[in-house]
Subunit: 394 residues, 2 copies
């Protein structure tokens, strides 16, 4: 038996995403928030800086007083106040005067620039300025960083080091992020062994590699993997494991059993929205009831993960910008069959994409040698060497 009809990739993806809902949020301390996806907009309760303040240790001056300053004829100003740390200025800066300020200090009235203390010569209560300073120099203006009420980081942001710094600056110590969806992983196949040996090879056995790959892919794309082990080709056992995983998880990945071989049971236990798509490799993928029925071959599984599962997980946590798409010049021809949505493995380096020639759904080295993929949609016959194409890094 073969697939009666292959669902076009975009159509299958749309059906999948329509069936996927966002998970709820949870509150985590900032220290645990790196890489998590923000579940709400962050609105600032403060204006930062709250007033014009000095960005350096130095002297608040009127810039116009310094315009004539030259190394050979310094401008002399009188220091009329030295503001200690944590206090507000009492005096004003008037022509010919300066006030000493520390970093973060409020700019005294009358001043419109700060000159770094390393840039002046100080003698008693006089300073000598050798070069002009521009208005605004070394002043951090009120609201320059953040305005009160401003949305500083948007829902869906994958939190990075600098985002945590911003949250800390705003006094936010706990943050609402999306819960990590639980993703059940079920590997099926009596032919699978845990390690290679000549005997295993002779017996047509295959080393099981999908579990470790899927566990780390799920972790990388916002999920919490739950591994249900390797299940032999036993209809009842596969059925029970899928039932259990469906109850315990938000999403379930089953590898093996997606085609119509003698031992391909898994797809029988799920009400599939689609089964068999135009993607290549990985054609026999099925999806329904939050369960993916995937191939047994690692390269097909990897492809199905990137073309379907990744997008489902990103939708569950509402993540933006979870893919890096870049332009690259092809170093090889990429012929493609009409009617196939091809996933072409490439190695990106220095603006160029070299096509990985090794084919075959079992050839893991083709994944190891690549670091990005090119998608060739159904209506394209492929690309030519030298063409610029969009690729997605992985």
């Amino acid at each position: 038996m073969e697939f009666k009809k292959l669902t076009p990739y975009k159509e299958a993806l749309k059906a999948l995403l329509e069936d996927i809902d966002e998970v709820e949020g949870e509150v985590v301390p900032l220290e645990k928030a790196i890489g998590r996806v923000l579940a709400e907009d962050i609105v600032s309760r403060f204006t930062v800086p709250p007033f014009d303040r000095s960005a350096v240790d130095g002297y608040a001056v009127r810039a116009e007083d310094t315009f004539q300053a030259r190394e050979y004829s310094p401008v002399e100003l009188e220091v009329v106040e030295e503001i200690p740390a944590g206090e507000a200025p009492k005096k004003e800066v008037t022509p010919g005067k300066a006030i000493k300020v520390l970093t973060g200090a409020k700019i005294p009235k009358g001043a419109n620039a700060v000159i770094m203390q390393e840039m002046v010569k100080r003698e008693g209560n006089k300073i000598y300025i050798l070069r002009p300073v521009a208005p605004g120099q070394n002043i951090a203006f009120a609201g320059e960083d953040v305005k009160k009420g401003e949305v500083v980081i948007k829902k869906g942001q994958i939190l990075r080091p600098q985002d945590l710094a911003m949250l800390k600056a705003l006094g936010i110590k706990k943050v609402k992020v999306k819960r990590k969806p639980k993703v059940g992983i079920i590997i099926t196949g009596s032919e699978l062994v845990d390690e290679p040996s000549e005997e295993a090879f002779e017996g047509g056995k295959i080393v099981e590699t999908n579990s470790i790959m899927l566990i780390s892919l799920v972790e990388r794309y916002f999920g919490e993997p739950v591994f249900y082990g390797v299940v032999p080709d036993n209809e009842e056992e596969i059925k029970e494991t899928i039932e259990r995983a469906k109850k315990e998880c938000d999403l379930v990945l089953v590898t093996g059993g997606s085609a119509f071989g003698d031992k391909d049971y898994a797809h029988k236990f799920v009400d599939l929205k689609f089964h068999g798509t135009t993607i290549k490799p990985g054609r026999p993928i099925g999806y329904g009831e939050k369960v993916f029925i995937m191939s047994g071959y690692p390269v097909a599984v990897f492809t199905q993960f990137h073309l379907f599962v990744k997008h489902a997980l990103a939708k569950m946590v509402g993540a933006r910008d979870y893919e890096v798409k870049i332009k690259a010049v092809l170093e090889d021809d990429v012929p493609s069959q009409l009617g196939r949505h091809e996933f072409v493995k490439v190695h990106y380096s220095n603006g160029k994409a070299r096509v990985i020639k090794k084919r075959g759904s079992g050839i893991i080295s083709s994944l190891v040698e690549s670091n990005a993929y090119l998608e060739v949609p159904e209506d394209s016959e492929g690309y030519r060497r030298g063409e610029e194409v969009w690729i997605t890094l992985y």
Copy 2:
């Protein structure tokens, strides 16, 4: 006092990297190896597949027997053997004959292609083939994936999901990766508070944001952060903390105290190889004795991390390909001062780089709004809108 001489960026980086050694390796189970850096070449002990084998469940045939097959005039072949799972073929495929094989089975002598069972009609011991198959079809050839003795993954690889799958396939359950360098983080400054408030702002206090940012940056770039807390501007205490961190860590990051303000002590306690560089922002960085004396301002710290610390950490673990450099079309002019190595924050999207206009070493929102940086070396006066430039993603 000002810097007497600014060390050019490339020169400073070279001096830094010459002073940095690789750390030793450690053995970790495969399940813990994701994101770690491989400390040795991985050489395969196996040829994979070990012999030509079937990639599908189907019938091993001589391709030439099928060349005349058409839907309206199928070719008939006799099935002379059915190889059970885990057994070797006993017979040969001769003209007009076929042997049933399962996925992974050794290809019987005489056969040069496998036709998927879904593609034929079976009646008794006869199969009917409707379309020609090409020689080699559905055969995974010996060594197609990996040859015995081949270097499959090179030292320095940052391990990804597919690399773990490959290691598993080769029977490798533990892998030698570089130890995570311990990176001490010391934050100095009496002006620092843990959270914002109007009072804190009035008093010229600044919210401490470098620790959480540096901790997550160090984790992201192969290190194990060790946080020594926030140390007030007390010469003795700073000195002692640096001494302690030097003993306990492979690398030490000190923020604050890199310039020549009244309270900038930190640089006095380290024999610096350079102090003051042409980078902007972040000019006053110093380095010596495995200690970085960094700025207090978050944007300067972030810059110094990416231009110096990141590269030092990558060298310590011998990591390759730890940066993604891509070409982007500038959406804005980027004027730059000769003699400065500028770190220009941009937002990359869809092949274009928009320059973040907000300046200032304290403006964290400029980091939040950006996702990449453009470096403008000392001898460049910058770039024009519309030019294509190389940027580095972060």
